[in-house]
Amino acid sequence: MKHTPNDKKIMAKMQAGVITYSGFLGKDTRDFNQIIADDEMVLDELGKTAEEIANRLEYFQQKSFDAFEASTLVDKIYEVDTEVVRGYLPCPFMHQGVYRKSYTTITNTKSGKSFTYSALNIHLIRAHHFFEGKKSHFRLEPRELVAELF
């Protein structure tokens, strides 16, 4: 796949040590455009949009903020916890703005399945349909999100 100069800049920002310690691509050998395209196909198959997933993640995160980041039970089955540490992260796609280093963990108490995501993950999913590369620290599997959070 031919990369535009902008794509190359984005790829550079996604590498380990540029924005985060291990980067956004994990062990994925695909480029970010392909990762996005493949995840979009999964979303189509599931009948959900990236925006719906981002909204859902934001909904839980906001519930946690409303509880001053203390552990809170949402919709009777989701245990939600947020931890905020010092600092902000920029978007690797070079969107303006920065995202607080907040890490929200949702546990579906029925299935026991948990997901941890940052404020930046919500932006990446909503604005770029980017769920990160396989085995990256904050990779979110669209199929699992849809199965557990809707």
Binding site: G17, T20, Y21, A70, S71, V84, Y88
Partner: protein, 368 residues
């Protein structure tokens, strides 16, 4: 035929070289701003070579404006007023500036290029910020994810700070990390010790600096930092004190208590420390020792996620309900808070609305 092809290649290469030379020369000529003057606070003039960012121009002159992202325009920490000569606000600055700040000529100093004479306004306290070179003297594991690191300053250097202030640590390239980053950490040692400082650093998931501290740093390593920064410091009054912290937020509180131990105090003081489980508690022994030392100091750890297996006998849940036993006169009480924005917001709201403490007597250092 072959000669013709080679001639064409040579011609094209020649044209390429000439164009490249023109570009280099043009860039050198066009971006040569010569010497320019930075006027600071209407009092002091610095003569610098034009073309660099305001942040780095000042840093070269040993004036250190706080910056957590190393001048990449992402942290918003390096704000200062540019009264003249800064050019228009750039799109990279707008997301990090409020309307009021823009109206007040506040800019991100890392994004402002010094191309001509410029007038700026910065807090006087910034002139006290220095760059320090140190050697790691001690690393202590406080919990599974929190370390206490002591930095011994190089011979001849000494640091002047107020209990509660912070420094900015500079990482070195490691593993795949090629750029250095700067991150802010509160000083946890007392200001009376001027030849070394201690920082308490919690491992942040995917954090470039905290991973460096936790996985790379060892005793004897050389580390640079700048400081001291911040307006979160202990006020010299006689008011009762409520300290409230969570996570690594104990650092400035420890510094304040050690300072009070040094200078002596009879102020009533209570320290509420919020943690998730017993695994997240640290400095317990030090706090119990403060209880022994001070006439009127109480340490109150409160756990939010204690499990039955932990057999925790102390306080649990939110911190706020426990304040009532510690506040005897809201009009004569100051609060010092350090932790996450959620904790700061919840505690501030409760102190004002439930306990009647004046907002201006609540001082905080928020992680957000």
């Amino acid at each position: 035929m072959l000669i013709r092809i080679l001639e064409d290649i040579a011609l094209m290469s020649g044209i390429g070289v000439i164009l490249a030379l023109i570009l280099v020369l043009a860039q050198r000529w066009l971006s040569n701003y010569g010497e320019v003057t930075i006027n600071i606070n209407g009092k002091r003039d610095l003569t610098v070579t034009g073309g660099n960012s305001l942040l780095s121009s000042l840093s070269d002159e040993q004036i250190f404006i706080p910056s957590a992202c190393g001048g990449r325009g992402t942290c918003g920490a390096c704000k200062c007023q540019v009264l003249e000569g800064g050019g228009p606000i750039l799109p990279t600055e707008k997301p990090l500036l409020t309307k009021a700040e823009m109206a007040d000529n506040v800019r991100l100093s890392c994004q402002v290029k010094v191309k001509s004479d410029i007038k700026i306004q910065i807090p006087e306290a910034i002139f006290n910020i220095r760059r320090f070179n140190s050697v790691i003297e001690e690393i202590v594991d406080y919990t599974y994810d929190i370390k206490g690191v002591t930095f011994k300053l190089n011979e001849g250097q000494s640091i002047d700070f107020k209990a509660g202030q912070y420094v900015q640590l500079e990482t070195k390239p490691y593993e795949k990390i090629k750029q250095k980053v700067m991150r802010a950490y509160s000083i946890s040692s007392k200001p009376e010790i001027r030849d070394r400082i201690q920082l308490i650093i919690r491992l942040v998931p995917e954090g470039v600096c905290t991973t460096w501290v936790h996985t790379q740093l060892k005793v004897g390593d050389k580390v640079d930092f700048t400081g001291a920064y911040g307006d979160f410091y202990l006020r010299d009054t006689a008011a009762d004190i409520l300290f409230v912290a969570g996570g690594s937020g104990s650092a400035p509180i420890k510094s304040m208590l050690e300072h009070l131990q040094e200078v002596g105090t009879n102020r009533k003081m209570t320290y509420f420390f919020g943690a998730r489980t017993t695994k997240d508690l640290y400095l317990d022994e030090e706090m119990r020792a403060f209880e022994e030392f001070f006439d009127d100091f109480e340490y109150v750890p409160v756990l939010s996620h204690a499990t039955e297996a932990e057999n925790w006998q102390g306080k649990t849940g939110y911190l706020m309900p426990y304040f009532k036993d510690a506040i005897r006169d809201p009009k004569n009480t100051e609060a010092y808070l350090c932790g996450s924005p959620g904790m700061i917001a919840a505690v501030t709201k409760s102190l004002i609305n439930d306990y009647g403490i004046a907002e201006e007597k609540i001082y905080y250092d928020s992680f957000g």
